[in-house]
Symmetry: C2
Subunit: 327 residues, 2 copies
Amino acid sequence: MDNQFKFLLQEWREQIDRRLFQVLDGHHPAILYDPIQYVLEGGGKRIRPILLALSCKAVDGVLEKCWDAAVAVELLHDFTLVHDDIMDRDDTRRGRATVHKKWNSDIALLAGDGLVALAFQSLLRTQSSKIHEIATVFTEGIIELCEGQAFDLEFETNGDVNLKDYLDMIGRKTARLLNVSAKLGGLIGNGNEAEVQALGNFGYNLGCGFQIQDDLLDITSDEATMGKTYGSDVKRKKQTYLLVHALSEADSSIKEQLRFLLTKQEINRTQINEVKVLFEKAGSIDAAKFAINKYILSAKSNLDELHSTQGKELLLSFLKYISNRNA
Amino acid sequence: MDNQFKFLLQEWREQIDRRLFQVLDGHHPAILYDPIQYVLEGGGKRIRPILLALSCKAVDGVLEKCWDAAVAVELLHDFTLVHDDIMDRDDTRRGRATVHKKWNSDIALLAGDGLVALAFQSLLRTQSSKIHEIATVFTEGIIELCEGQAFDLEFETNGDVNLKDYLDMIGRKTARLLNVSAKLGGLIGNGNEAEVQALGNFGYNLGCGFQIQDDLLDITSDEATMGKTYGSDVKRKKQTYLLVHALSEADSSIKEQLRFLLTKQEINRTQINEVKVLFEKAGSIDAAKFAINKYILSAKSNLDELHSTQGKELLLSFLKYISNRNA
């Protein structure tokens, strides 16, 4: 990543963080706002607000106008994390205890509700003649986020998930919010319809690639870098691109071995390694890499619609930054 | 209640119900939308959407424009019920199993999230030049709802609650949504600033009276009418107007007896009756009746600001309908 872009990311991250915490100013009671503050302090890469700001810049928009919406997509993302962690019984997030673990699930439930409300509050501070469309895009995004999470819950009890189902699920659960972020940036920046659409598609493709990469990193990245446990998806028997691919595409002996490993109550480190070997044999790791690359190429081609050369370059740098991550 | 008003309420309720269920058309997966449909089928008096429609009419607004927002406030109310029931461990609501009881708390959590998103979706279908203000009023309302629920949670572990704390809590948790409903009706109906403010105050006062009445009915209404268990608030040691009043205003012997009863793990029917007698002795039942009346009188006087004679009359009929309820 070139230094100029790195510097820009750093500057924007600080801008976003400063504005994120302002959302909490003067609010009480602590029982609601302390857990929310804790979530905001947890860090994260702020990918969604940065994508929003980049998209605003990519249509030569006024950057200053986009920060409230940028904060909104980050708050919305945090809302999904807090509620999903309750449903997934996840004890750690970004290397720290999750809200329901540090407090309890009632507090986490309420903190999530507060986050979604604060997200709308921040969004509605945006000064734009397109505020109705902006709020509608945001809202439709939340509905799909809920649907994505619902499909994910359904997958837990339904062993028969194919790649189409999986891609539909991550489309809603992960890619949609990146799609929304990019579209909002385009709308606030006063991009034309084709540009807003192209930015949305860019966000969507980036999101799909990002999620499959996340699935892949679960067994190819080391713990210290990742901030979550090696093979935690495997441990939780989560329907990832790799597992869905292997269980639908591998030959029957591999499928059988995989299914056998998944019957275990507890999956230990040796067994995670065995699963990894089975994924390799099934070609699932290569397939995941291929799929990630396909989405990245699609995202690139979405940028053809943009007029601003600088905007295009910034989004290409962002794409590179995201796809080169190892955590 | 005169027959004409009764007929109007019935007609509007049908209108609201029809539109409520349309929100679900074509949506899936069932794991998300079945529980939501179940909640909508649970009935309820549709007080909030009716107040919104009445407020629209009270400023001579076009009724047809208000239904999407009316549906939105009902969906928002349902969201709070589903999530609050999880936190309060309530097993029944409107005489049926609560969502987390019929399914589980993950499903209920997600259904609540879906409801709040659907509420915004419906609200944003409203055609109004004031949509930015409409969405902002709605959003600020949700934030206060969360804060109200947070104070309520805090009260559970904090025995030292005074009437001011209690009134602040119900102001946020109950009255605010009635305030929002009335304001939205006024805004959509193109009322002037003073009218919108007056309608909002009317909703707020009505809401406070309504909640204290609810507290009172817990031990003065019979089960069949109420649809919830006699003395369920007492059983759950909930901070109601009556309990807060008695524990702060009664003489020390009554306080002592009350506190002793509240130390019991399980409070049986005989003990609920004892609590009721203590409330009577402490003057808490009379104080509650006095407070309800005070709020109703305030609500009435808020209507002085309205220009439409018919609008005023409709809202007065509504006030009468609400304050005469015995369930």
